[in-house]
Symmetry: C2
Subunit: 360 residues, 2 copies
């Protein structure tokens, strides 16, 4: 049973505007602790001891294939799957799984997001190994992140009795909770964050899709037939847009039986906003994360992110400012308090209203 990976790399990433754009979403940006490595490249590199790039499939959007290939020189181009339109994660995972099964009917598959940051890579690989053991034993298995705060922005996984070893039964998936419930979850110790990582035998997933999403199963079968005739592209263009737009969580995981979860405790960070990016960036003694050459006088807790591409860099000078995020690109400059990082969306909304497609 060879192990394959499916990396979901289709995100739009408006939360990192102006660095992230429709054509340069979050996973293509170096938002982890490393100032150069894009999150997607880090995801593939991190897996390499268990799953080499030759067995990695990337699910992305048609408009992103070239930019994605550019950051992943070791992944064979044929393994970059371009969705004609975004249809949420169930069609994406179903199509990638079916594609891998055509080459390797016994494939064991790890599905991972492309845009998270994981500092403890050895710890991560150990947990992935345990989750793959669960998948080998026939369970669709997920990794639940041990919560470190009462986060209301994530879904949770309630754990039940152990199957044995580190493998625990999934009692149920829980939607994003209220603040009160989130506090209870952290205190109770029975809830983990759903980080969107799934491990399964390919044919187990296909059976689950047939059972819970028969419409998707029929569409995938049509694409398979097209591929067998050497005509995948045109069938895909016709069929993919008709597939049900639903997440794998809602469409399959919440309905399936025998799900397993392994606890993950490796410093996971979903890099959800400029605030998270500041947390991860190297900082000076005053909590500033600044490009070389910046002059900061009496300033604390600032994050200056220079994403310009011109050769002649501008010098940034800060005097008496605190806890600000300042992001420069060739065509835009954002200034926002770190505490309001989520509100970058309001700028993107305004640009849409203005029809400023060049900056979206």
């Amino acid at each position: 049973m060879a192990i394959h990976a499916v990396i979901m790399a289709g995100g739009a990433g408006t939360r990192f505007w102006p660095a992230s754009r429709a054509k340069t979403p979050k996973q293509l940006l170096p938002l982890g602790a490393d100032p150069v490595e894009p999150l997607l490249a880090a995801t593939v590199r991190r897996l390499a001891p268990l799953i080499p790039a030759s067995r990695v499939t990337i699910a992305t959007g048609a408009a992103l294939v070239d930019a994605t290939a550019a950051v992943l020189p070791d992944v064979p181009r044929a393994q970059l799957l371009a969705e004609p339109v975004p249809r949420n994660t169930a069609p994406c995972i179903g199509w990638a799984t079916a594609t891998i099964l055509r080459q390797d009917p016994d494939a064991l598959i790890a599905v991972l997001p492309s845009d998270h940051y994981i500092p403890d890579e050895a710890g991560f690989l150990r947990v992935v190994g345990a989750a793959l053991d669960g998948a080998r034993a026939g369970h669709m298995t997920t990794i639940g992140i041990v919560p470190t705060r009462p986060e209301t922005g994530y879904g949770y996984i309630e754990v039940g009795e152990p199957f044995g070893g580190e493998l625990l039964r999934v009692e149920r998936f829980v939607e994003k909770p209220t603040r009160e419930r989130a506090v209870e979850f952290v205190a109770g110790g029975k809830h983990l964050w759903n980080a969107g990582m799934f491990f399964y035998e390919g044919r187990v997933m296909m059976r689950a899709i047939e059972e819970h999403l028969p419409e998707l199963a029929r569409g995938l079968a049509a694409i398979d037939e097209g591929a067998a005739r050497g005509d995948e592209a045109s069938v895909l263009a016709k069929v993919f847009p008709t597939l049900p737009s639903i997440s794998i969580d809602h469409g399959v995981m919440e309905k399936a039986r025998g799900l397993a979860v392994v606890k993950g405790d490796f410093g996971w960070n979903d890099v959800g906003s400029w605030e998270s990016a500041w947390e991860l960036a190297p900082k000076d003694a005053h909590g500033n994360a600044l490009p070389d050459g910046t002059v900061a006088v009496d300033s604390r807790g600032n994050f200056v992110c220079d994403r310009t591409t011109r050769g002649d860099k501008r010098m940034v000078a800060l005097v008496g400012v605190h806890d600000l995020v300042l992001v420069e690109t060739d065509d835009a400059l954002l200034v926002i308090p770190r505490s309001r990082a989520q509100d970058v969306r309001s700028i993107v909304d305004e640009l849409k209203k203005r029809g400023d497609t060049g900056r979206l």
Copy 2:
């Protein structure tokens, strides 16, 4: 008696970094209410109903002559006096006065700073007319600005009895006061701000220099002799650096007798910092002074000043920030709270320490 003007335009202007530089000091920047007209050009234009550009002399530094000429197309190039080195205002005014007297021995002269902003131009001209009347009557005359706040950053003029009409006796010049004294000055009604504007008959000033600054008088005589021999440039280069470096206030005005002052109440602003520039700039309903195209969400009291020269302007996006000054040039970006605008100097000091002459 023809009226001539001497505009002092040699300032270094570190307070407007990064827009102001050694080669583009404050007076060459459009920091008044008009977004295009440099302060120096406004100074010359404002005077034109009383003193045409053909009788305006500009005293500036050798390094600034070309840039100065570029903003003053109507001032004859021969009337741009280039000081080989800066020697404070007494040598500057003395040399300019001597130069004008060579052409017009009966000249009546108005000396004005180049980098102030005056909204009520008609009111200003009326007061200048009254000050010139004082000069015609033989008084060295100044304009004292009616104070609107207990400012500790300016020198004051204590007024005495009237000479007649609007012309008041200068009792004494007062150095920058403490806060307490400044409050008393404003309440007392006998103190005016010294705005560095002087009006005199040319030969009256030359006699005052001979009396109070004989060393300067000797130097100016040597330059005059050089000019008579058609050799002004080389004498100037030799003599000017040896002239006493002293202000006209300390060197002459504080010692001279019979000085007069006219009260000025025309909305004068010395544009002393980015805070003043924000006060003068047109603002939206939220107190923001922003370039066209800026997106400001939930932001108040900000000043964004785009001094870049590239054709492709960057869009600035502000979310949730208040009372900030943000200045962009091609090679630098400054962020500073309006309330700390004076501390721009700390950046200039840091650049000097780094030897970053390109940005000074």
